[in-house]
């Protein structure tokens, strides 16, 4: 009885049943993807299990293809594993089939790796970071990413074509790896991958002429006026209506320049200090004008932010091992196929 069950588990018939069933379920699933693009287009944004949890409230009977397809793939993986174990048990007489069974092993490893990554992985996109800034890597306690330099590349039409971000991966204070990431050249470390996504610009202040001197008004800048008074820029906000809400994901800014405002500190020759709001559209406040602060010809100053994608897939190294096993398996299968063909060479001549 057990022997029969084992034989069925190892059989090509079971493989055909499972591959056929998986194919049919996947065809049905692809139809669902086509008909519900707003729902399924987000599937790549998160690991499969996390996406599925988020999706569950909207799930209906037509979405059952995902767990069904996953279950069939798991069964197919078990069937492949049984075949592989059976082959190992008869290695002495079946070693010539090594190529085919390496493909089996590769498939098993890739399925396990994908399941592992789907359960314990992390995907995070649009992590905005400016030059010199450090951000914490999401869901990776103690790991940080520093952007050393950033250079977006543009086509002659002005369209961005690549984003060169020189980044350093840090574990606490320790530098683990420094590399320039651009398309097809991610920073990888273990199962972690840092990739270029896009870039954004954020207004950080204004360049202007004050008393016929070109100055940059931005957070931290200080300007001494002819009267001896000093103006310190304490804060800059691209839109005063959104103070406190202009810091986006991971400390990055992404606020359009609508109603810009400065929080300035005016310190007079007598060391008295006043904080004054200067809302650009409303003009310079009287107190600043009286102190001789007359900014003219204001031009916005922008800072580039690299928007990076940070993914962690703990199964990626195992998937790579599976891929190598499969590639080797294919090469060995081709070799053994042609060796057999050359031994029993035949041609058909009409």
């Amino acid at each position: 009885m057990l022997r029969q069950l084992w034989n069925f588990c190892c059989s090509a018939k079971a493989t055909i049943i499972l591959t056929s069933a998986t194919t049919l379920v996947a065809i049905f699933g692809s139809a669902q993807i086509m008909h519900n693009p707003q729902l399924f287009s987000t599937m790549d944004s998160k690991p499969l299990l996390e996406w599925w949890y988020g999706y569950l409230p909207q799930a209906n009977i037509y979405s059952l293809w995902i767990p069904l397809c996953s279950a069939l793939i798991v069964l197919l993986c078990l069937n492949t594993l049984c075949c592989f174990v059976d082959w190992i048990c008869h290695l002495g007489s079946r070693w010539r089939k090594m190529g085919e069974y390496l493909i089996h092993l590769g498939f098993i490893l890739v399925v396990i790796a994908y399941a592992w990554g789907s359960i314990y992985g992390m995907r995070s996109s649009n992590n905005s970071i400016a030059e010199g800034e450090i951000i914490a890597i999401p869901s990776q306690r103690g790991y940080f990413l520093r952007l050393n330099s950033f250079a977006p590349q543009f086509a002659p039409s002005g369209r961005p074509v690549d984003m060169l971000s020189n980044v350093t991966l840090l574990k606490g204070d320790q530098e683990l790896k420094t590399t320039t990431v651009c398309f097809n050249h991610p920073l990888t470390h273990g199962g972690l991958a840092v990739l270029p996504g896009s870039y954004t610009q954020q207004a950080v202040g204004f360049s202007c002429s004050v008393n016929q001197q070109q100055v940059e008004l931005k957070q931290g800048s200080t300007h001494i006026l002819p009267s001896g008074a000093r103006v310190n820029v304490l804060e800059f906000h691209p839109d005063i209506q959104y103070i406190g809400r202009d810091r986006g994901k991971n400390g990055a800014a992404n606020m359009p320049l609508r109603n810009p405002a400065f929080l300035l500190e005016l310190s007079g020759p007598t060391k008295e200090r006043k904080t004054i709001w200067y809302v650009v559209k409303q003009g310079v406040p009287q107190q600043l004008l009286a102190a001789g602060f007359t900014p003219q010809r204001l031009t916005p100053l922008y800072k580039n932010y690299s928007q990076l994608t940070i993914n962690r897939d703990p199964g990626a190294p195992l998937a790579a091992a599976g891929g190598i096993a499969m590639a080797l398996g294919v090469l060995l299968s081709l070799r053994s196929f042609y060796v057999k063909r050359f031994r029993n060479s035949y041609t058909y001549l009409p």
Binding site: A12, K13, T15, I16, T19, S20, T22, T23, A26, I27, G29, S30, I33, M34, F40, M43, D44, L76, I103, F107, Y114, G117, R123, Q153, V161, D162, C182, F183, N184, H185, P186, A193, L195, T309, I310, N311, D313, A316, A319, A320, G323, M326, A327, V330, S333, L334, F337, T347, Y348, L349, P350
Partner: protein
Amino acid sequence: MDINALLLHGSFVLYGLSVLLYVANARLHWPRLHRLALGTVLVAFGCQSLCLGLRWVAAGYLPVTNLFSTLFFFSWSLAATYVYFELRYRLASAGLFVMLLNLLLLYIALPRDSTIPALIPMLDTPLFTLHVVFSFLGYALFAMAFSLAVLYLIQRKTSGLLLPSSSMLKQLNEEAIFLGFCFFTLSMLFGSYWAYVAWGYYFSWNIKALWSALIWLYFAGMCHAKFIRRWQGTGYAWLSIFGFALVLFTYLGIGLLMSSSHPLA
């Protein structure tokens, strides 16, 4: 007319001529006609290869980044596959079917814009070239298996004297499926690795990737089906025909009818 256009149209005309010669051979059973048809195919394939080589040199990368160039490359892969099978096994009239398919691919490609677009950085990697080359070689072998399967069914129905024996066709069909599966596996591996370095994950749930995985599973099942008695012969031929329908839908159906982040191949 520049040299590329001359070679392209020349190969189209020569493939057309080879089809006529194969038809004539099917009616007249004249061995010289078969040799002439094969010679014409070889010259056409040479022209097409030269055209592909010149376009590759001019572009600095394998030009397979728009529908014209993928159709052209699919046609070249199919011709290469046919030349391999013909020189190795002398398929005779079996070539008619494959050459008709090849002619159809070139016919669809010719009116399209053949300008080589500038390569975007995302595609500027050898992984892209390897992924596409193995993918189209796999597709071409599945197309070859389809042709052999149709011939097998014709042979079983009519016992056509000019066709290879049904056992030969069955064996060649299995060979085409096996080789196609091997190449398609390599294509999937290079594609997955490329996806990982480009997007940070090696399997995407876009419609094209899902159908590619589905094709791989289907042909993996077929590689097992040849060991099962009831699926050998006619059953295997029908599986090959259905498999090629899946391939065509994945290549053309999804690329032309649906939006996908993976529209070219």
